[in-house]
Symmetry: C2
């Protein structure tokens, strides 16, 4: 089995897309997860050509989602934006469009209602994704983000939401930072495997203490509390053979030279993740 490391380009956030493509090339990384803002900045067709010419696998496009709006106008805007994201994912040949489903609308506290809206809007989007040959990847986020970013907090919940749809059209993301705490994780990963839903496997550590901006508490594998041997082993046991994407949001990492970051990512991946695949 070849190298499965993928660099999510948010890890080298200061780099433009061309810089990230060059950086991946220098490090011998053969897959990248890309972000819509950096793609837009470079141009969609140009980005697709750049990635293709570099021979890079696009393991994910980040991201669609934010489907929880309650006003008809905001809901319509979200659907339009997701249709655009699906088209971009198709153009780039991305293996998955990562979906961060959204939190509570301002002033609203009804999680049950917000989750129902996500389920409903997936019924609008899944046919669009299927038409474009794009796989939506529902991402459960750590429960500390339930109110402001994602009302999906567990892999089981993501699998339940995916269940009505073809597995080739709606899958799930297993991101170690978001799900490592889950007492049902081993069982939910096995279920995701049986149901052929693992669309993306993302790794990074959960650093303590939690960063002042809680979004930035992601760390290099080995710097925090995640058990990579166990979780990687559970994912591998399902037969998952896709890319392993390293995605780190962390101010110190972003303040470090990109090539140094990529080589540290490679080192930690080789040491803590790859042996368990």
């Amino acid at each position: 089995m070849g190298d499965r490391l993928s660099l999510n380009t948010a890890t080298t956030k200061p780099w433009t897309l061309p810089q990230a493509v060059e950086g991946a090339g220098r490090a011998g990384v053969t897959a990248v997860g890309v972000w819509r803002d950096r793609v837009a900045e470079h141009g969609l067709a140009e980005s697709a050509a750049l990635l293709r010419d570099a021979g890079l696998t696009v393991s994910s496009l980040c991201r669609g989602g934010f489907l929880t709006a309650s006003s008809p106008e905001a809901a319509a805007a979200a659907l339009a934006d997701n249709r655009a994201a699906i088209e971009e994912a198709a153009t780039l040949g991305a293996q998955a469009l990562v979906m961060v489903v959204g939190g509570l609308p301002e002033g609203d506290r009804d999680l049950v209602g917000a989750r129902a809206r996500v389920a409903e809007r997936l019924h609008d989007l899944a046919p669009v994704a299927a038409d474009h040959g794009v796989r939506l990847a529902l991402e459960p986020l750590h429960p500390m983000y339930v109110a402001d970013r994602a009302v999906i907090s567990t892999l089981a919940q993501a699998l339940d939401l995916a269940a009505p749809f073809d597995a080739a059209t709606v899958g799930v993301v297993v991101d170690t930072f978001h799900v490592f705490w889950d007492p049902d994780l081993c069982e939910s990963i096995a279920r995701a495997g049986r149901e052929d839903r693992i669309a993306s496997f993302q790794v990074c550590d959960f650093n303590l203490p939690i960063a002042t901006d809680a979004l930035l508490s992601r760390g290099y594998m080995g710097d925090g509390v995640v058990d990579f041997a166990a979780i990687t082993g559970w994912v591998a046991a399902t037969g998952y053979s896709g890319p392993v994407e390293v995605e780190i949001f962390n101010q110190d990492v972003w303040d470090t030279d990109g090539d140094t970051v990529v080589s540290r990512v490679r080192e930690r991946y080789d040491q803590l993740v790859a042996p368990h695949l």
Copy 2:
């Protein structure tokens, strides 16, 4: 039904136990949740007499737990400390001894192993609790504390751990801050009711953004994102008729005059919680 508000004295942290008893009296609050450090400071027998003479219900003693140590010495020390906590709870006539079960030992990442140790050590403690007529109340903590404070993150997990024991000896805590995000919450609360395990109902809000010290992100009901109408309704639907304890860790609250805090607690409780009981 009489007043069910209980003041957890961590909410008025600067107060000694006698000051908290007086403060509760001035506000007409008839129940308190007390902390071991403040009880020790005043003396155990003296505290028991003080609370009894004031006619206060002791809805909880906080807290026992920290059962995840892996070294035999640390494990023995934890058991000894929990035996002491059980004796204190018995002397105070506390309705529940709140158990925060502990996180990962330093350098350890094995959540599965840590959870197994909790299960094992409950078998040592439950008979001691039963002998003293004390009810252990297992508290699931928000997943952001899984590594450093509590490897129990969901109510379902707490109920599974409680299952081998008599419900009068081992119950669970439903704390809105810790469990509001749980997609299975409604179902787990109903199960806790059916199994007669609700030993403590604690309320406070989950404030955003998360405080720099993540432990202090608890807020007055109404200041954050918790749906008190829904969760209180689910608890009430089980037939739970015990105290409703307000427990807020928050630096701004601690910097406010205690009587002001208690009156704000009363006001928010009357407005956001009591109507749904």
